[in-house]
């Protein structure tokens, strides 16, 4: 069973105009069920675009995208994934709690269920005390954590995350990485995770997909084979050798 299957996808923006951009060129990617895949690459190489294609927020110029064996559009309509964007994108008129409840609300869950789930998620991202606050009263990093809680709230089978930890401090970042892994392992969630940080990609992933720009394409894949994912492993030689391997793949020198 594959969670995501992208085949032969090319994405051209503004086709036929002077500002035509080939954001992705002939991309193939499969994510197995329960697998954690990171996308890494320099700015502008089409990571966000690839994620948005999987989420069916964009239709590919050519090629096909399937999620859980269904066309991406159908998967979106069935709400088969949760998504967290680069910017938190919270609704400023809702409290933190009600922001997390939003996807549950749209699924028609009862108020009590929503309350409970939102509280649980806020606890997880360490914002239980801020449930009644409004987004404008939170720091950028806290807002991002709310957005993560919102994406996780529905326990989706597939999680799409676009640099969700980019705005966080190192401490929070590492704590949330561990939490995220725990959640994914516990619920068997498949994840596509965009990041700029090589150590983050190595720590989180089963597989790191390396991309390069102009045109955006996949230039390499690094399988990560670490014995465990705890704080100790971050210091291990095994970890550093994987980091070096990803860095080399990024530079294009094997």
């Amino acid at each position: 069973m594959t969670a995501v299957s992208v085949s032969g996808v090319t994405q051209v923006f503004n086709r036929g105009r002077p500002d035509e951009v080939t954001a992705l060129s002939d991309v193939d990617l499969t994510v197995a069920a329960g697998e954690f895949v990171s996308l890494i690459g320099p700015s502008g190489c089409g990571k966000s675009t690839l994620l948005r294609l999987i989420a069916d927020l964009l239709a590919p110029t050519t090629g096909t995208v399937e999620v859980s064996g269904k066309p991406a559009r159908q998967a979106r309509l069935e709400q088969a994934y949760g998504i967290a964007f680069q910017q938190a994108g919270l609704f400023e008129w809702r409290t933190v709690q009600r922001n997390v409840e939003l996807p549950l609300e749209l699924r028609g869950q009862s108020k009590a269920e929503r309350r409970e789930r939102a509280a649980e998620m806020l606890e997880l991202v360490g914002l239980a005390d801020f449930a009644g606050h409004y987004p404008a009263q939170l720091s950028g990093g806290m807002q991002q954590r709310v957005a993560i809680a919102r994406a996780l709230a529905v326990h989706p089978p597939l999680l799409l995350m676009d640099e969700p930890f980019g705005a966080l401090d190192e401490m929070t970042r590492e704590r949330l990485q561990t939490e995220l892994l725990a959640i994914c392992a516990q619920t068997g969630t498949s994840t596509v995770f965009v990041t700029h940080s090589i150590p983050e990609a190595v720590f989180l992933s089963d597989r790191v997909v390396v991309m390069s720009p102009r045109p955006g394409r996949i230039t390499g894949t690094v399988g990560i084979d670490l014995p465990a994912r705890d704080e100790a492993v971050r210091q291990s030689p095994d970890f550093f050798s994987h980091v070096t391997l990803v860095r080399k793949t990024l530079r294009g020198t094997p």
């Binding site: 948005r52 989420a55 979106r76 964007f85 400023e92 008129w93 996807p103 749209l106």
Partner: protein
């Protein structure tokens, strides 16, 4: 609370300016190269503020009701018309904005006419509406004069609502719209959960403009249709006595100003509970 204080401050400043000009201004006005650039400051053109207030207390005609009762009664009459027209105009404006947001084509086709509609002079419009609607009736209820006035008020007030609300509905960023899309929310649910709440900071300034426009529409509408009983009519009646009783016409104008304040206060009353936690956007009229 702050807003109430600022309204009071504005009144004080206005009175000070009025009396200040009366104190220093030339009673015959200032004439430059044959045109009067500053108005006469004599008691006939610019009665003292306290004269106006005192006039409110005295009877309209000898033996009649005191002026303040007459003015207040007229204000209430016009307020009713204003509120009816304002409500109708706001609803039409909202519906237009939603339709324009929903269909690009409607926006392209309709927006120019919406803007054009406001360039038709009000005075030309009033007899037209009166003429068209004269033989309308709702079942047993025939069309009435005040309805014509309300339509004019509505005609003036739908515009700021339509334009402001359209901007508000289009204000959510792409990320918010994409988020709703990722939740498989259709147009309607995106409207309810995202666009309408996002539009509120645009809606209220627009409503305030619309309220002021509705007051103007009602007063001018009363005058140009000759509707009796309202403040517009009172201004005309009292201004005939301007030479013998100059303070009297200003009592009617005070009434009209009061009407504007009341309508603005009504909008604020609506706004307060809804906007407690919201950032404010600068007032946008176009």
């Amino acid at each position: 609370m702050r807003r109430v204080l600022s309204v009071l401050a504005a009144v004080v400043v206005f009175v000070a300016l009025w009396e200040g000009y009366k104190a220093v201004g030339d009673p015959d006005g200032t004439v430059l190269f044959g045109t009067r650039v500053l108005p006469r400051a004599d008691d006939l053109s610019m009665p003292h503020v306290w004269d106006m207030l005192r006039r409110l207390g005295r009877p309209e005609l000898t033996g009649g009701r005191p002026v303040w009762q007459v003015v207040l009664g007229a204000c209430l009459f016009t307020l009713g018309i204003t509120v009816a027209g304002f409500a109708a105009g706001a609803v039409v404006g909202l519906l237009l904005a939603v339709a324009m947001q929903r269909f690009r084509l409607v926006e392209r086709g309709l927006l120019p006419y919406v803007i054009l509609s406001q360039t038709v002079p009000l005075v030309a419009l009033a007899p037209l509406i009166a003429g068209w609607s004269g033989n309308l009736s709702f079942g047993p209820y025939p069309w009435q004069d005040w309805m014509t006035v309300a339509v004019i008020a509505a005609y003036l007030s739908f515009f700021p609502v339509a334009v402001g609300m359209l901007r508000g509905l289009q204000s959510p960023q792409a990320s918010g719209v994409e988020l709703m899309r990722s939740y498989a929310a259709g147009w309607w649910r995106t409207l309810i959960k995202l666009r309408l709440p996002a539009a509120l900071p645009y809606l209220f300034p627009a409503l305030r403009l619309a309220g002021a426009a509705a007051v103007v529409g009602a007063v001018v509408g009363e005058i140009s249709t000759g509707t009796r009983g309202g403040i517009g009519r009172l201004v005309i009646e009292y201004s005939r006595e301007a030479t013998s009783d100059p303070a009297k016409v200003y009592t009617a104008m005070l009434g009209a100003a009061l009407l504007g304040l009341v309508v603005a206060a009504l909008v604020s009353l609506l706004e307060l509970p809804l906007m407690r936690h919201r950032r404010r956007v600068p007032v946008v009229t176009m």
